[in-house]
Subunit: 279 residues, 2 copies
Amino acid sequence: MENMQNVETSQTVNPFALPADRGALTPAEARAMFRSGLAVPTAGWSRGYAQANLMIVPRELAFDVLLFAQRNPKPCPILGVLDAGEVTGPLLAGGDIRTDVPRYTVYLDGQKVAEPTYISEYWRDDLVTFIVGCSFTFESALREGGISVAHIDQNVNVPMYKTNVRCEPAGSISGPLVVSMRPIPASRVADAVRITSRYPAVHGAPVHVGNPAELGIGDLGRPDFGDPVQIPEGHIPVFWACGVTPQAAVMESRPALAIGHAPGHMLITDARDSDYLVP
Amino acid sequence: MENMQNVETSQTVNPFALPADRGALTPAEARAMFRSGLAVPTAGWSRGYAQANLMIVPRELAFDVLLFAQRNPKPCPILGVLDAGEVTGPLLAGGDIRTDVPRYTVYLDGQKVAEPTYISEYWRDDLVTFIVGCSFTFESALREGGISVAHIDQNVNVPMYKTNVRCEPAGSISGPLVVSMRPIPASRVADAVRITSRYPAVHGAPVHVGNPAELGIGDLGRPDFGDPVQIPEGHIPVFWACGVTPQAAVMESRPALAIGHAPGHMLITDARDSDYLVP
Protein backbone atom coordinates (compact mmCIF):
# COMPACT_ATOMS: atom_id res chain seq x y z
CA MET A 1 0.00 0.00 0.00
CA GLU A 2 2.77 2.44 0.85
CA ASN A 3 4.29 1.35 -2.37
CA MET A 4 1.17 2.15 -4.35
CA GLN A 5 0.94 5.60 -2.78
CA ASN A 6 4.52 6.33 -3.67
CA VAL A 7 3.82 5.20 -7.19
CA GLU A 8 0.67 7.15 -7.84
CA THR A 9 2.31 10.50 -7.24
CA SER A 10 5.45 9.73 -9.19
CA GLN A 11 5.99 10.79 -12.79
CA THR A 12 9.78 10.49 -12.76
CA VAL A 13 10.42 7.44 -10.64
CA ASN A 14 14.03 6.51 -10.07
CA PRO A 15 14.46 3.10 -11.70
CA PHE A 16 16.06 1.85 -8.49
CA ALA A 17 12.90 2.67 -6.49
CA LEU A 18 11.02 -0.24 -8.05
CA PRO A 19 8.45 -2.15 -6.06
CA ALA A 20 10.37 -4.92 -4.33
CA ASP A 21 7.83 -7.52 -5.45
CA ARG A 22 7.58 -6.44 -9.09
CA GLY A 23 8.21 -9.98 -10.31
CA ALA A 24 5.21 -11.23 -8.34
CA LEU A 25 2.68 -8.67 -9.59
CA THR A 26 -0.06 -9.90 -11.89
CA PRO A 27 -0.14 -8.25 -15.31
CA ALA A 28 -3.33 -6.40 -14.34
CA GLU A 29 -1.67 -5.09 -11.18
CA ALA A 30 1.40 -4.01 -13.12
CA ARG A 31 -0.72 -2.27 -15.76
CA ALA A 32 -2.66 -0.48 -13.02
CA MET A 33 0.60 0.89 -11.62
CA PHE A 34 1.65 2.15 -15.03
CA ARG A 35 -1.82 3.59 -15.58
CA SER A 36 -1.23 5.52 -12.36
CA GLY A 37 1.87 7.12 -13.84
CA LEU A 38 4.80 4.87 -12.94
CA ALA A 39 7.27 5.06 -15.83
CA VAL A 40 10.09 2.51 -15.54
CA PRO A 41 11.58 -0.26 -17.67
CA THR A 42 9.67 -3.49 -17.20
CA ALA A 43 12.44 -6.13 -17.25
CA GLY A 44 11.81 -8.54 -14.39
CA TRP A 45 8.19 -7.49 -13.88
CA SER A 46 5.30 -10.02 -13.62
CA ARG A 47 7.46 -13.09 -13.88
CA GLY A 48 6.06 -15.70 -16.25
CA TYR A 49 3.94 -13.27 -18.26
CA ALA A 50 4.78 -12.15 -21.78
CA GLN A 51 5.84 -8.56 -22.31
CA ALA A 52 5.33 -6.89 -25.65
CA ASN A 53 6.46 -4.10 -27.94
CA LEU A 54 3.92 -1.66 -29.37
CA MET A 55 3.53 -0.16 -32.79
CA ILE A 56 0.47 2.01 -33.38
CA VAL A 57 -0.18 3.41 -36.85
CA PRO A 58 -3.08 4.83 -38.87
CA ARG A 59 -5.23 2.27 -40.70
CA GLU A 60 -3.86 3.32 -44.10
CA LEU A 61 -0.42 2.06 -43.07
CA ALA A 62 -1.63 -1.08 -41.28
CA PHE A 63 -1.35 -3.53 -44.18
CA ASP A 64 2.24 -2.52 -44.88
CA VAL A 65 3.15 -2.90 -41.20
CA LEU A 66 1.50 -6.31 -40.92
CA LEU A 67 3.16 -7.44 -44.17
CA PHE A 68 6.52 -6.14 -42.91
CA ALA A 69 6.02 -8.26 -39.79
CA GLN A 70 5.08 -11.31 -41.86
CA ARG A 71 8.25 -10.92 -43.93
CA ASN A 72 10.48 -10.27 -40.92
CA PRO A 73 9.10 -12.64 -38.29
CA LYS A 74 12.22 -12.82 -36.13
CA PRO A 75 12.27 -9.12 -35.20
CA CYS A 76 8.50 -8.61 -35.60
CA PRO A 77 6.55 -11.54 -34.12
CA ILE A 78 2.94 -10.34 -33.92
CA LEU A 79 1.18 -11.53 -30.76
CA GLY A 80 -2.02 -9.59 -31.36
CA VAL A 81 -3.61 -6.72 -33.26
CA LEU A 82 -6.25 -4.28 -32.01
CA ASP A 83 -8.43 -3.21 -34.92
CA ALA A 84 -8.80 0.47 -35.80
CA GLY A 85 -9.97 2.43 -32.76
CA GLU A 86 -9.95 -0.53 -30.35
CA VAL A 87 -8.18 0.22 -27.07
CA THR A 88 -8.38 -3.15 -25.33
CA GLY A 89 -8.30 -6.83 -26.18
CA PRO A 90 -7.63 -10.31 -24.81
CA LEU A 91 -3.92 -9.64 -24.25
CA LEU A 92 -4.75 -6.80 -21.84
CA ALA A 93 -8.12 -7.78 -20.38
CA GLY A 94 -9.82 -4.79 -18.74
CA GLY A 95 -6.90 -2.60 -19.76
CA ASP A 96 -6.47 0.40 -22.03
CA ILE A 97 -3.69 0.57 -24.56
CA ARG A 98 -3.64 4.38 -24.23
CA THR A 99 -2.57 4.35 -20.58
CA ASP A 100 -1.28 0.91 -19.56
CA VAL A 101 2.26 1.05 -20.97
CA PRO A 102 4.72 2.78 -18.64
CA ARG A 103 6.07 5.12 -21.31
CA TYR A 104 5.38 5.73 -25.00
CA THR A 105 7.25 7.33 -27.88
CA VAL A 106 5.21 9.58 -30.17
CA TYR A 107 6.37 10.37 -33.71
CA LEU A 108 4.89 13.02 -36.00
CA ASP A 109 6.09 12.83 -39.60
CA GLY A 110 8.80 10.41 -38.46
CA GLN A 111 10.20 12.78 -35.80
CA LYS A 112 10.12 11.87 -32.13
CA VAL A 113 8.10 14.61 -30.44
CA ALA A 114 7.27 13.21 -27.01
CA GLU A 115 7.81 10.34 -24.57
CA PRO A 116 4.59 10.59 -22.55
CA THR A 117 3.19 8.20 -19.97
CA TYR A 118 -0.26 8.36 -21.63
CA ILE A 119 -1.28 8.76 -25.25
CA SER A 120 -4.94 9.66 -24.74
CA GLU A 121 -4.45 13.09 -26.27
CA TYR A 122 -3.02 11.58 -29.46
CA TRP A 123 -5.66 8.88 -29.86
CA ARG A 124 -7.69 8.66 -33.06
CA ASP A 125 -10.34 6.19 -34.15
CA ASP A 126 -8.31 5.05 -37.15
CA LEU A 127 -5.31 3.88 -35.11
CA VAL A 128 -4.39 0.19 -35.33
CA THR A 129 -2.28 -1.31 -32.54
CA PHE A 130 0.27 -4.05 -33.17
CA ILE A 131 1.39 -6.00 -30.11
CA VAL A 132 4.78 -7.50 -30.91
CA GLY A 133 6.66 -10.20 -29.00
CA CYS A 134 9.58 -9.23 -26.80
CA SER A 135 12.74 -11.10 -25.86
CA PHE A 136 11.97 -10.50 -22.20
CA THR A 137 9.73 -13.55 -22.56
CA PHE A 138 12.64 -15.94 -22.83
CA GLU A 139 14.66 -14.25 -20.10
CA SER A 140 12.77 -16.20 -17.44
CA ALA A 141 13.69 -19.39 -19.26
CA LEU A 142 17.34 -18.34 -19.46
CA ARG A 143 17.43 -17.61 -15.72
CA GLU A 144 15.68 -20.88 -14.92
CA GLY A 145 18.40 -22.51 -17.01
CA GLY A 146 21.00 -20.94 -14.74
CA ILE A 147 22.04 -18.26 -17.23
CA SER A 148 22.02 -14.84 -15.60
CA VAL A 149 20.69 -11.84 -17.52
CA ALA A 150 23.09 -8.93 -17.15
CA HIS A 151 20.70 -6.02 -17.51
CA ILE A 152 18.36 -7.47 -14.89
CA ASP A 153 21.25 -8.11 -12.50
CA GLN A 154 22.61 -4.62 -13.16
CA ASN A 155 19.11 -3.10 -12.85
CA VAL A 156 19.24 -1.22 -16.16
CA ASN A 157 17.35 -1.32 -19.46
CA VAL A 158 18.49 -3.91 -22.01
CA PRO A 159 20.97 -2.46 -24.55
CA MET A 160 19.66 -2.30 -28.13
CA TYR A 161 21.52 -1.48 -31.34
CA LYS A 162 20.61 -0.58 -34.91
CA THR A 163 22.52 -2.90 -37.26
CA ASN A 164 23.72 -2.72 -40.85
CA VAL A 165 21.35 -5.58 -41.72
CA ARG A 166 18.33 -4.38 -43.68
CA CYS A 167 14.93 -5.97 -43.13
CA GLU A 168 12.92 -7.16 -46.10
CA PRO A 169 10.74 -4.18 -47.07
CA ALA A 170 6.96 -4.21 -47.42
CA GLY A 171 5.23 -1.46 -49.36
CA SER A 172 6.28 1.84 -47.85
CA ILE A 173 8.00 0.23 -44.85
CA SER A 174 11.71 -0.54 -44.70
CA GLY A 175 14.43 -0.22 -42.12
CA PRO A 176 17.33 -1.79 -40.26
CA LEU A 177 17.26 -4.85 -38.05
CA VAL A 178 17.47 -3.75 -34.41
CA VAL A 179 18.99 -6.23 -31.95
CA SER A 180 19.14 -6.59 -28.19
CA MET A 181 22.37 -7.84 -26.59
CA ARG A 182 22.99 -10.09 -23.61
CA PRO A 183 26.47 -11.15 -22.53
CA ILE A 184 26.58 -14.93 -22.04
CA PRO A 185 29.39 -17.04 -20.52
CA ALA A 186 31.21 -18.81 -23.36
CA SER A 187 30.39 -22.18 -21.83
CA ARG A 188 26.65 -21.39 -21.88
CA VAL A 189 26.22 -19.85 -25.35
CA ALA A 190 25.02 -23.14 -26.81
CA ASP A 191 22.51 -23.49 -23.97
CA ALA A 192 21.29 -19.93 -24.53
CA VAL A 193 20.72 -20.75 -28.21
CA ARG A 194 18.93 -23.97 -27.37
CA ILE A 195 16.69 -22.38 -24.73
CA THR A 196 15.69 -19.32 -26.74
CA SER A 197 15.11 -21.28 -29.96
CA ARG A 198 12.17 -22.87 -28.19
CA TYR A 199 10.43 -19.46 -28.24
CA PRO A 200 10.12 -18.70 -31.96
CA ALA A 201 7.12 -16.42 -31.37
CA VAL A 202 9.22 -14.02 -29.31
CA HIS A 203 12.37 -13.63 -31.43
CA GLY A 204 13.61 -17.19 -30.91
CA ALA A 205 17.28 -18.08 -31.38
CA PRO A 206 19.97 -15.38 -31.59
CA VAL A 207 20.64 -13.75 -34.95
CA HIS A 208 24.33 -13.35 -34.21
CA VAL A 209 26.94 -14.48 -31.70
CA GLY A 210 30.14 -12.76 -30.76
CA ASN A 211 31.14 -10.27 -33.46
CA PRO A 212 29.39 -6.90 -33.11
CA ALA A 213 31.53 -5.29 -35.85
CA GLU A 214 29.98 -7.57 -38.44
CA LEU A 215 26.56 -6.13 -37.53
CA GLY A 216 27.96 -2.62 -37.90
CA ILE A 217 28.02 -2.05 -34.13
CA GLY A 218 31.13 -0.01 -33.37
CA ASP A 219 30.89 0.34 -29.61
CA LEU A 220 28.83 -1.94 -27.37
CA GLY A 221 29.14 0.73 -24.67
CA ARG A 222 26.96 3.10 -26.73
CA PRO A 223 23.65 1.40 -27.54
CA ASP A 224 21.12 3.17 -29.77
CA PHE A 225 18.35 2.41 -27.29
CA GLY A 226 18.42 1.36 -23.64
CA ASP A 227 21.48 1.31 -21.41
CA PRO A 228 24.96 -0.14 -21.72
CA VAL A 229 25.71 -3.21 -19.61
CA GLN A 230 29.04 -4.36 -18.23
CA ILE A 231 30.32 -7.44 -20.04
CA PRO A 232 32.00 -9.75 -17.52
CA GLU A 233 35.32 -11.41 -18.35
CA GLY A 234 34.80 -14.58 -20.40
CA HIS A 235 31.32 -13.55 -21.59
CA ILE A 236 30.39 -13.36 -25.27
CA PRO A 237 27.97 -10.72 -26.60
CA VAL A 238 24.95 -12.52 -28.03
CA PHE A 239 22.42 -10.66 -30.21
CA TRP A 240 18.72 -11.34 -30.57
CA ALA A 241 16.30 -9.70 -33.01
CA CYS A 242 14.46 -6.90 -31.21
CA GLY A 243 10.87 -5.72 -31.30
CA VAL A 244 11.99 -2.11 -31.65
CA THR A 245 12.69 -3.03 -35.30
CA PRO A 246 9.18 -2.24 -36.60
CA GLN A 247 9.30 1.11 -34.81
CA ALA A 248 12.63 1.97 -36.47
CA ALA A 249 11.19 0.94 -39.85
CA VAL A 250 7.94 2.83 -39.52
CA MET A 251 9.93 5.93 -38.66
CA GLU A 252 11.70 5.75 -42.00
CA SER A 253 8.34 5.90 -43.79
CA ARG A 254 7.45 9.13 -41.93
CA PRO A 255 3.74 8.63 -41.31
CA ALA A 256 1.81 11.64 -40.03
CA LEU A 257 1.40 9.88 -36.66
CA ALA A 258 2.95 6.76 -35.15
CA ILE A 259 3.25 5.67 -31.54
CA GLY A 260 5.49 3.04 -30.00
CA HIS A 261 6.42 2.03 -26.48
CA ALA A 262 9.55 3.68 -25.11
CA PRO A 263 12.37 1.15 -25.45
CA GLY A 264 12.38 -1.27 -22.52
CA HIS A 265 9.05 0.10 -21.26
CA MET A 266 6.83 -2.73 -22.45
CA LEU A 267 3.18 -3.70 -22.41
CA ILE A 268 2.78 -6.48 -19.83
CA THR A 269 0.25 -8.87 -21.32
CA ASP A 270 -1.99 -11.53 -19.81
CA ALA A 271 -0.35 -14.22 -21.97
CA ARG A 272 2.03 -16.54 -20.21
CA ASP A 273 5.57 -16.91 -21.47
CA SER A 274 4.86 -20.64 -21.65
CA ASP A 275 2.08 -19.97 -24.18
CA TYR A 276 4.85 -19.28 -26.69
CA LEU A 277 6.99 -22.32 -25.90
CA VAL A 278 7.31 -24.95 -28.63
CA PRO A 279 8.26 -28.57 -27.91
CA MET B 1 8.35 -35.87 -74.44
CA GLU B 2 5.28 -37.88 -75.39
CA ASN B 3 4.01 -37.03 -72.00
CA MET B 4 4.48 -33.30 -72.53
CA GLN B 5 2.72 -33.42 -75.88
CA ASN B 6 -0.21 -35.19 -74.35
CA VAL B 7 -0.33 -32.58 -71.62
CA GLU B 8 -0.15 -29.49 -73.77
CA THR B 9 -3.29 -30.32 -75.69
CA SER B 10 -5.27 -31.43 -72.70
CA GLN B 11 -7.70 -29.18 -70.83
CA THR B 12 -9.61 -31.99 -69.15
CA VAL B 13 -6.93 -34.48 -68.30
CA ASN B 14 -8.12 -37.65 -66.61
CA PRO B 15 -6.53 -37.60 -63.16
CA PHE B 16 -5.33 -41.15 -63.74
CA ALA B 17 -3.33 -40.07 -66.81
CA LEU B 18 -0.76 -38.30 -64.64
CA PRO B 19 2.89 -38.21 -65.66
CA ALA B 20 4.43 -41.30 -64.15
CA ASP B 21 7.31 -39.30 -62.72
CA ARG B 22 5.29 -36.47 -61.24
CA GLY B 23 7.01 -36.85 -57.87
CA ALA B 24 10.40 -36.29 -59.48
CA LEU B 25 9.53 -33.09 -61.38
CA THR B 26 11.13 -29.87 -60.20
CA PRO B 27 8.66 -27.16 -59.15
CA ALA B 28 9.54 -25.14 -62.27
CA GLU B 29 8.86 -28.17 -64.48
CA ALA B 30 5.56 -28.82 -62.73
CA ARG B 31 4.49 -25.19 -63.03
CA ALA B 32 5.37 -25.24 -66.74
CA MET B 33 3.06 -28.22 -67.25
CA PHE B 34 0.22 -26.42 -65.47
CA ARG B 35 0.97 -23.28 -67.47
CA SER B 36 0.48 -25.44 -70.55
CA GLY B 37 -3.02 -26.32 -69.42
CA LEU B 38 -2.76 -29.50 -67.35
CA ALA B 39 -5.42 -29.28 -64.64
CA VAL B 40 -5.09 -32.03 -62.03
CA PRO B 41 -4.79 -32.27 -58.24
CA THR B 42 -1.17 -31.89 -57.15
CA ALA B 43 -0.87 -34.40 -54.28
CA GLY B 44 2.32 -36.38 -54.76
CA TRP B 45 3.86 -33.91 -57.24
CA SER B 46 7.44 -32.56 -56.88
CA ARG B 47 8.31 -34.58 -53.82
CA GLY B 48 10.11 -32.55 -51.16
CA TYR B 49 8.78 -29.18 -52.31
CA ALA B 50 6.13 -27.19 -50.49
CA GLN B 51 2.74 -26.82 -52.10
CA ALA B 52 0.53 -23.88 -51.26
CA ASN B 53 -3.02 -22.56 -51.20
CA LEU B 54 -3.86 -19.29 -52.91
CA MET B 55 -6.03 -16.38 -51.89
CA ILE B 56 -6.06 -13.35 -54.16
CA VAL B 57 -8.06 -10.27 -53.15
CA PRO B 58 -8.20 -6.56 -53.94
CA ARG B 59 -5.83 -4.34 -51.96
CA GLU B 60 -8.68 -2.83 -49.96
CA LEU B 61 -9.37 -6.24 -48.41
CA ALA B 62 -5.72 -7.22 -47.96
CA PHE B 63 -5.26 -6.00 -44.39
CA ASP B 64 -8.32 -7.90 -43.19
CA VAL B 65 -7.13 -11.09 -44.91
CA LEU B 66 -3.62 -10.81 -43.48
CA LEU B 67 -5.04 -10.07 -40.03
CA PHE B 68 -7.41 -13.04 -40.34
CA ALA B 69 -4.38 -15.20 -41.11
CA GLN B 70 -2.47 -13.79 -38.16
CA ARG B 71 -5.38 -14.59 -35.85
CA ASN B 72 -5.94 -18.08 -37.29
CA PRO B 73 -2.42 -19.33 -37.93
CA LYS B 74 -3.25 -23.04 -37.94
CA PRO B 75 -5.57 -22.92 -40.97
CA CYS B 76 -3.91 -19.86 -42.55
CA PRO B 77 -0.11 -20.06 -42.32
CA ILE B 78 1.19 -17.35 -44.68
CA LEU B 79 4.28 -18.45 -46.61
CA GLY B 80 4.49 -15.35 -48.77
CA VAL B 81 2.62 -12.34 -50.09
CA LEU B 82 2.86 -10.78 -53.55
CA ASP B 83 2.21 -7.06 -53.30
CA ALA B 84 -0.57 -5.44 -55.31
CA GLY B 85 -0.13 -6.21 -59.00
CA GLU B 86 2.93 -8.47 -58.57
CA VAL B 87 2.63 -11.77 -60.45
CA THR B 88 5.85 -13.50 -59.41
CA GLY B 89 8.12 -13.79 -56.39
CA PRO B 90 10.78 -15.90 -54.71
CA LEU B 91 8.36 -18.78 -54.02
CA LEU B 92 7.73 -19.21 -57.77
CA ALA B 93 10.95 -17.98 -59.41
CA GLY B 94 10.39 -17.23 -63.08
CA GLY B 95 6.75 -18.15 -62.73
CA ASP B 96 3.48 -16.31 -63.09
CA ILE B 97 0.77 -16.57 -60.48
CA ARG B 98 -1.88 -16.02 -63.19
CA THR B 99 -1.06 -19.24 -65.08
CA ASP B 100 1.06 -21.57 -62.93
CA VAL B 101 -1.61 -23.11 -60.72
CA PRO B 102 -3.40 -26.07 -62.35
CA ARG B 103 -6.87 -24.74 -61.67
CA TYR B 104 -8.34 -21.67 -59.99
CA THR B 105 -11.67 -20.74 -58.47
CA VAL B 106 -13.01 -17.27 -59.32
CA TYR B 107 -15.61 -15.58 -57.13
CA LEU B 108 -17.57 -12.44 -58.01
CA ASP B 109 -19.52 -10.92 -55.12
CA GLY B 110 -18.88 -14.14 -53.18
CA GLN B 111 -20.37 -16.40 -55.86
CA LYS B 112 -18.26 -18.99 -57.64
CA VAL B 113 -18.42 -18.07 -61.32
CA ALA B 114 -15.61 -20.08 -62.90
CA GLU B 115 -12.90 -22.70 -62.35
CA PRO B 116 -10.44 -21.70 -65.08
CA THR B 117 -6.91 -22.94 -65.71
CA TYR B 118 -5.67 -19.34 -66.12
CA ILE B 119 -6.78 -16.09 -64.48
CA SER B 120 -5.13 -13.63 -66.88
CA GLU B 121 -8.48 -12.22 -67.96
CA TYR B 122 -9.46 -11.45 -64.36
CA TRP B 123 -6.14 -9.88 -63.38
CA ARG B 124 -6.05 -6.33 -62.00
CA ASP B 125 -3.16 -4.24 -60.75
CA ASP B 126 -4.69 -3.92 -57.29
CA LEU B 127 -4.77 -7.66 -56.61
CA VAL B 128 -2.73 -8.95 -53.65
CA THR B 129 -1.77 -12.66 -53.60
CA PHE B 130 -1.53 -14.62 -50.38
CA ILE B 131 0.42 -17.88 -50.59
CA VAL B 132 -0.75 -20.10 -47.74
CA GLY B 133 0.86 -23.27 -46.40
CA CYS B 134 -0.67 -26.64 -47.30
CA SER B 135 -0.79 -29.92 -45.41
CA PHE B 136 0.63 -31.69 -48.45
CA THR B 137 4.00 -30.51 -47.09
CA PHE B 138 3.91 -32.92 -44.20
CA GLU B 139 2.60 -35.83 -46.24
CA SER B 140 6.11 -36.68 -47.40
CA ALA B 141 7.18 -36.79 -43.76
CA LEU B 142 4.23 -39.03 -42.89
CA ARG B 143 5.10 -41.43 -45.70
CA GLU B 144 8.76 -41.43 -44.75
CA GLY B 145 7.57 -42.32 -41.28
CA GLY B 146 5.82 -45.36 -42.71
CA ILE B 147 2.32 -43.86 -42.48
CA SER B 148 0.49 -44.22 -45.78
CA VAL B 149 -1.64 -41.33 -47.06
CA ALA B 150 -4.98 -42.68 -48.26
CA HIS B 151 -5.82 -40.12 -50.92
CA ILE B 152 -2.42 -40.51 -52.57
CA ASP B 153 -2.71 -44.31 -52.50
CA GLN B 154 -6.28 -44.09 -53.85
CA ASN B 155 -5.22 -41.47 -56.46
CA VAL B 156 -7.92 -38.95 -55.52
CA ASN B 157 -8.04 -35.43 -54.11
CA VAL B 158 -7.81 -35.08 -50.32
CA PRO B 159 -11.27 -34.86 -48.67
CA MET B 160 -12.01 -31.49 -47.02
CA TYR B 161 -14.91 -30.52 -44.77
CA LYS B 162 -16.39 -27.29 -43.46
CA THR B 163 -16.74 -27.59 -39.67
CA ASN B 164 -18.96 -26.00 -37.05
CA VAL B 165 -15.88 -24.32 -35.53
CA ARG B 166 -15.77 -20.60 -36.28
CA CYS B 167 -12.46 -18.88 -36.95
CA GLU B 168 -11.60 -15.71 -35.10
CA PRO B 169 -12.87 -12.88 -37.32
CA ALA B 170 -10.81 -9.93 -38.57
CA GLY B 171 -12.55 -6.82 -39.86
CA SER B 172 -14.95 -7.91 -42.58
CA ILE B 173 -13.60 -11.47 -42.75
CA SER B 174 -15.11 -14.39 -40.84
CA GLY B 175 -15.90 -17.99 -41.59
CA PRO B 176 -15.74 -21.63 -40.58
CA LEU B 177 -12.64 -23.70 -39.99
CA VAL B 178 -12.14 -26.05 -42.94
CA VAL B 179 -10.28 -29.30 -42.26
CA SER B 180 -8.64 -32.00 -44.35
CA MET B 181 -8.99 -35.64 -43.27
CA ARG B 182 -6.57 -38.54 -43.42
CA PRO B 183 -7.40 -42.00 -42.03
CA ILE B 184 -4.55 -43.19 -39.81
CA PRO B 185 -4.07 -46.66 -38.27
CA ALA B 186 -4.94 -46.44 -34.57
CA SER B 187 -1.46 -47.61 -33.65
CA ARG B 188 0.12 -44.73 -35.62
CA VAL B 189 -2.09 -41.78 -34.59
CA ALA B 190 0.42 -40.65 -31.97
CA ASP B 191 3.21 -40.82 -34.55
CA ALA B 192 1.13 -38.81 -37.03
CA VAL B 193 0.63 -36.13 -34.36
CA ARG B 194 4.32 -36.08 -33.50
CA ILE B 195 5.46 -35.90 -37.12
CA THR B 196 3.06 -33.19 -38.25
CA SER B 197 3.57 -31.05 -35.13
CA ARG B 198 7.10 -30.47 -36.41
CA TYR B 199 5.62 -28.46 -39.31
CA PRO B 200 3.81 -25.60 -37.56
CA ALA B 201 4.14 -23.36 -40.64
CA VAL B 202 1.98 -25.73 -42.69
CA HIS B 203 -0.95 -26.47 -40.34
CA GLY B 204 1.11 -28.48 -37.83
CA ALA B 205 -0.53 -30.96 -35.49
CA PRO B 206 -4.11 -32.19 -36.06
CA VAL B 207 -6.96 -30.07 -34.72
CA HIS B 208 -9.10 -33.13 -34.00
CA VAL B 209 -8.81 -36.89 -33.81
CA GLY B 210 -11.54 -39.44 -34.27
CA ASN B 211 -14.95 -37.84 -33.79
CA PRO B 212 -16.24 -36.11 -36.94
CA ALA B 213 -19.68 -35.45 -35.41
CA GLU B 214 -18.14 -33.10 -32.88
CA LEU B 215 -16.88 -30.96 -35.76
CA GLY B 216 -20.35 -30.97 -37.29
CA ILE B 217 -19.34 -33.41 -40.03
CA GLY B 218 -22.29 -35.71 -40.61
CA ASP B 219 -20.96 -37.97 -43.34
CA LEU B 220 -17.27 -38.48 -44.08
CA GLY B 221 -18.32 -39.92 -47.43
CA ARG B 222 -19.57 -36.50 -48.56
CA PRO B 223 -16.74 -33.96 -48.25
CA ASP B 224 -17.43 -30.29 -49.00
CA PHE B 225 -14.33 -30.13 -51.21
CA GLY B 226 -12.19 -32.83 -52.80
CA ASP B 227 -13.06 -36.51 -52.96
CA PRO B 228 -14.15 -39.11 -50.41
CA VAL B 229 -11.55 -41.71 -49.42
CA GLN B 230 -12.12 -45.24 -48.23
CA ILE B 231 -11.34 -45.60 -44.52
CA PRO B 232 -9.66 -48.97 -43.95
CA GLU B 233 -10.70 -51.16 -40.99
CA GLY B 234 -8.93 -50.08 -37.82
CA HIS B 235 -8.10 -46.61 -39.11
CA ILE B 236 -9.12 -43.42 -37.27
CA PRO B 237 -10.15 -40.25 -39.13
CA VAL B 238 -7.66 -37.51 -38.22
CA PHE B 239 -8.38 -33.86 -39.07
CA TRP B 240 -5.90 -31.10 -39.89
CA ALA B 241 -6.63 -27.40 -40.38
CA CYS B 242 -6.89 -26.71 -44.11
CA GLY B 243 -5.71 -23.81 -46.25
CA VAL B 244 -9.09 -23.62 -47.98
CA THR B 245 -10.23 -21.88 -44.77
CA PRO B 246 -9.29 -18.32 -45.87
CA GLN B 247 -11.08 -18.91 -49.16
CA ALA B 248 -14.23 -20.00 -47.34
CA ALA B 249 -13.98 -16.94 -45.10
CA VAL B 250 -13.34 -14.43 -47.84
CA MET B 251 -16.39 -15.77 -49.66
CA GLU B 252 -18.56 -14.85 -46.69
CA SER B 253 -17.44 -11.23 -46.99
CA ARG B 254 -18.52 -11.14 -50.65
CA PRO B 255 -15.81 -8.99 -52.21
CA ALA B 256 -16.36 -7.82 -55.78
CA LEU B 257 -13.55 -10.16 -56.90
CA ALA B 258 -11.60 -12.93 -55.19
CA ILE B 259 -9.59 -15.78 -56.64
CA GLY B 260 -8.38 -18.97 -54.99
CA HIS B 261 -6.85 -22.20 -56.19
CA ALA B 262 -9.30 -25.00 -56.91
CA PRO B 263 -9.25 -27.34 -53.87
CA GLY B 264 -6.38 -29.82 -54.15
CA HIS B 265 -4.96 -27.99 -57.18
CA MET B 266 -2.10 -26.20 -55.47
CA LEU B 267 0.72 -23.83 -56.30
CA ILE B 268 3.94 -25.86 -56.26
CA THR B 269 6.56 -23.56 -54.74
CA ASP B 270 10.35 -23.53 -54.84
CA ALA B 271 10.50 -23.82 -51.03
CA ARG B 272 11.47 -27.20 -49.69
CA ASP B 273 9.22 -28.96 -47.22
CA SER B 274 12.24 -29.11 -44.92
CA ASP B 275 12.38 -25.29 -44.86
CA TYR B 276 9.32 -25.45 -42.62
CA LEU B 277 10.57 -28.17 -40.27
CA VAL B 278 11.22 -27.14 -36.68
CA PRO B 279 13.55 -29.07 -34.37
